[in-house]
Subunit: 218 residues, 2 copies
DNA sequence: ACTCCTTTTTGAACGTGTTCAATCCATAGT
DNA sequence: ACTATGGATTGAACACGTTCAAAAAGGAGT
């Protein structure tokens, strides 16, 4: 039965993701998903704890696609600003079809109890995957970022990515033009800031910021 | 009838805020609020569009209390770091009783359609009030922040405040000890950064950041 | 073929936020 | 006093997410 069971689960995920994409979060009801998949309402709850759990599936799916699209573009020798631009623009591309869904997505993500919460324990794996993307960018970029912050940089950049995502949610311009413009400006700026962290004065501040973020992580 | 109508509204707000504080967001039901206030369920919807609308009332109430408590403490001649510490710590104090409620609060706030959304149009008034607090801090602090950024500083500080609030939501330590520690570290750091923005190299970056934030606002 | 146990599936039921036609009630105008 | 008007109030009804006891379907051992 294991194979058929897995098929039911897969069918539910596919159906749910399609309906999320086509109708948004609210109009996609648990009854609707079940009906479209040809199973009973209650059966969905055998495979998924809640509606939010299905959003978690969407989250993981997007994450995988983001990684698959961005990673091959992170080539050796390109400067950090360009690498960042690639990661962020790819992220916006992948999330694009779900933009109307965006706020609901955040809404689910924001609750600490949620599996999707980017800061929670449950999503640690997914977060790690995302940070790994930035780690790769840092590793292959030339010139190399200063050694002093190389270790903490991926996490800091990821935090910036979260901020951009927040901006994206509220961006109502067609095709999220404004978010793309923001990325084009912010990516080289961040890269320039990284370079500047070599200067003694700036370095002191950067060290303090890094220390702050570290201690905030407990 | 106008006076009695206002009384009903006030009674509902008071009841709802008390129940939010005592039982949290989910356990406080619209039926429960109506019953505790001695009116019918439907009547609540005559005065408030939705449950979230009642959260908006809570938001405004907290905002007013924050302002009332923080403003008198912003005295002339104190340095910016201390002023910031005062504002942020007072904010945590005011929100304290609602900490369990915090994530639900954010959840309501995050949706662009929501009245409470800190970035939305509806909450522009409330946001303005909050930013005014930082404007006051900037105005009375000695030494004065560099002229070049004085105008944009309140808004930037407010953004930092939003970040701290986000941290607060996820802070499970008793009495939000970790958030308070974060504030004690971050406030002087921010102040030091402001001072540093006088240096030509840093100033260039700061200008770019300010420009970025400005253009992001449309 | 039959039994026993586990995995999977069902659909009714509960409590929720919200809507709405109907009703009540206070007041102004006559 | 009577009535018309519009604000205030009601409570049943709807669709939703979720739960759960019960039924069905599978599979293993004999």
């Amino acid at each position: 039965m294991a194979v058929k069971s897995a098929a039911t689960r897969e069918l539910l995920v596919t159906t749910a993701l399609r309906m999320f994409r086509e109708q948004g979060y609210e109009k996609t009801t648990m009854r609707g998903i079940a009906a479209a998949a040809g199973v009973s309402t209650g059966n969905t709850y055998y495979y998924f704890e809640s509606k939010d759990d299905l959003v978690h599936e969407l989250y993981k799916s997007l994450q995988d696609e983001h990684r698959a699209r961005a990673l091959p573009q992170l080539r050796d020798g390109i400067n950090l600003g360009e690498q960042l631009r690639t990661i962020l623009q790819t992220g916006v591309d992948v999330m694009g079809p779900y933009h109307d869904f965006g706020s609901n997505f955040l809404q689910v993500a924001i609750k600490p109890s949620s599996k999707v919460s980017p800061f929670g324990d449950e999503a640690a794996v997914a977060r790690g995957k995302s940070i790994a993307l930035f780690k790769q960018a840092v590793t292959v970029s030339r010139p190399q970022p200063p050694y002093a912050i190389r270790e903490d940089l991926p996490e800091l950049l990821w935090l910036g990515y979260m901020a951009v995502t927040l901006f994206w949610v509220y961006d109502r311009s067609p095709n999220q033009r404004r978010t793309r413009a923001l990325i084009n400006n912010a990516a080289p700026l961040a890269a320039r800031l990284v370079i500047l962290s070599r200067l003694p004065v700036v370095r002191k501040i950067v060290e303090d910021v890094v220390h702050l973020v570290r201690s905030a992580k407990q």
